[in-house]
């Protein structure tokens, strides 16, 4: 952003970039070959719904929009940060059709004017014990891995401490750097604890 732009109160609106999502299936092949991680068949799309709308309204509206475009069925959840998550499931797990569904959900939201409110999409993977998500940042067109560490011990409040498995995350970045464009700024790798669509096996 130039000096003139900051002087005049201008900045370019962020444009969602959806094409990168289609890099996920080839990343899935690499993951399975190298680390034996497979898609859980579950993914989700997070966006920011405006206040005051009844939850049921948002759910009905979104499903109506998706149905109009022959989109997939989604489950709607709201997290503690006030973001709405649309969860897509494929059974049996099928990464390619999951990506198609996620893309359809994103495109529908974007075409309905929700583009600027889209936060991220994620697809989750598991090797039977560990689970992680590949998070796709719309505004950047980049991915990053989010791997919750195995819970060990409890804190004073009785909650499992929230720790990220940074080692696995870096490993994934190195492994998948030819398949996906990774987010270079690590500060943008925000945590999505307990995000709907991120299946954690206990």
């Amino acid at each position: 952003m130039g000096f003139l732009d900051s002087l005049l109160g201008r900045s370019k609106p962020a444009r969602p970039d959806l094409d990168q999502l289609f890099g996920l299936p080839s990343a899935g092949v690499t993951l399975e070959a190298a680390l034996d991680f497979r898609s859980t068949g579950t993914g989700s799309v997070a966006f920011r719904a405006a206040e005051g709308r009844a939850f049921a309204d948002v759910q009905a509206d979104v499903q109506a929009l998706l149905d109009a475009g022959q989109g997939p069925k989604v489950e709607v959840e709201v997290d503690s940060f006030g973001y709405t998550w649309l969860v897509c499931r494929t059974d049996p797990p099928d990464l390619s059709s999951l990506v198609t569904d996620l893309h359809a959900v994103n495109t529908t939201l974007q075409d309905s004017g929700f583009g600027p409110t889209l936060l991220c999409s994620l697809a989750s993977f598991t090797d039977g014990t560990r689970t992680f998500a590949l998070v796709y940042l719309f505004k950047r067109g980049t991915f990053y891995p989010f791997a919750p560490a195995q819970a060990s011990g409890t804190t004073v409040e009785g909650q499992a401490p929230q720790k990220r498995d940074n080692l696995l995350e870096m490993q994934l970045r190195d492994l998948l750097k030819d398949d996906l464009r990774f987010e270079p700024e690590l500060t943008r790798w925000f945590a999505v604890w307990g995000a709907p669509g991120l299946e954690t096996r206990t």
Partner: protein, 292 residues
């Protein structure tokens, strides 16, 4: 929902241009004043004649000196003096005792998500011990740009209001508001000391009008970004309703605060922040546009 939250903001553009025009006008008047004095004094000592002779030697008669040449020289001097003044702006410093927000504080995740929505780098979050709920941006050149939240804000604002305050400050970060405000305020200070008083007052008013407009623009952008105009309005009411003596002198750290530090001391023309009613009016329009 179709509006893009960080698009053009014509009201802000107009207010900024008015402030810049005010600053340029003050400089122009001052340069004109100084220039005429120099010419008068010069004429008294025969300086003028000597200069005329010098020009003659180069083959340029004074008669060939067109009016637009004088005008260009005048404008160059005005721009030069303005730039020099803008560069003299004081350097802000981080208030003492401002520590980083604990790594597991939920506000961090709110900030990362908001920054991601707005597609901007995540600023550093700091806390300063001050019972009055407030937040501000500090662009200390030795540190990364930081959003400083008071301990009072952390203690008394619920999470959705804290998030709204954060979104407001992120707008200031994204638009470099601290830098521009600090520079224009410096010029207004210089004008106050050097320029004729009506000019100084005009400059101050136009700079402050721009600052108020920046606050309103930040409110609007924050409400659109979070989709929660009501939370932001509640935060404004809560923060501006707390009276007392702040621990942090905002003028010292040269920053843009969520609400003014301490009581309002200016007149409506020279206040740095819009009134709560004005902010509520803007947020009501956002709520309407969001269809809530």
């Amino acid at each position: 929902m179709t509006r893009s939250r960080y698009g053009d903001d014509p009201e802000l553009t107009r207010a900024t241009l008015r402030a810049a025009a005010g600053v340029a006008l003050a400089t122009a008047v001052t340069v004109l004043f100084v220039g005429v004095s120099v010419l008068l004094v010069g004429a008294k000592f025969g300086f003028w004649a000597a200069m005329h002779g010098g020009w003659r030697a180069f083959g340029w008669g004074l008669g060939e000196l067109h009016w637009w040449g004088v005008l260009i020289a005048f404008l160059v001097i005005v721009v030069g003096v303005t730039v020099i003044q803008l560069r003299k702006a004081p350097v802000p410093s981080m208030p003492r005792g401002a520590g980083e927000l604990p790594p597991d504080h939920p506000l961090r995740e709110s900030a990362s998500r908001l920054a991601s929505l707005a597609d901007m780098p995540v600023p550093v979050l700091r806390v300063v011990d001050d019972p009055l709920p407030n937040a501000f941006v500090v662009d200390d050149p030795d540190l990364p740009v930081s959003v400083v939240v008071t301990s009072g804000a952390l203690a008394s604002l619920p999470p959705d209001e804290l998030e709204a305050v954060l979104a407001h400050e992120l707008f200031h970060v994204a638009h470099g508001d601290t830098r521009i405000t600090r520079r224009l305020e410096t010029v207004a200070g210089v004008a106050h000391r050097k320029a004729p008083s009506f000019v100084a007052h005009y400059v101050l008013r136009s700079v402050r009008a721009m600052m108020r407009q920046r606050e309103l623009s930040a409110d609007r952008a924050a409400a659109l970004l979070t989709g929660r105009p009501t939370s932001l309005l509640h935060a404004v009411e809560r923060c501006s309703g707390s009276h007392g003596v702040p621990n942090v002198d905002l003028r010292q750290v040269a920053v843009v605060g969520f609400v003014p530090a301490g009581a309002r001391h200016g007149t409506p023309d020279t206040d740095t922040h819009p009134t709560t009613a004005e902010r509520a009016a803007v947020l009501a329009r956002v709520a309407t546009s969001l269809g809530t």
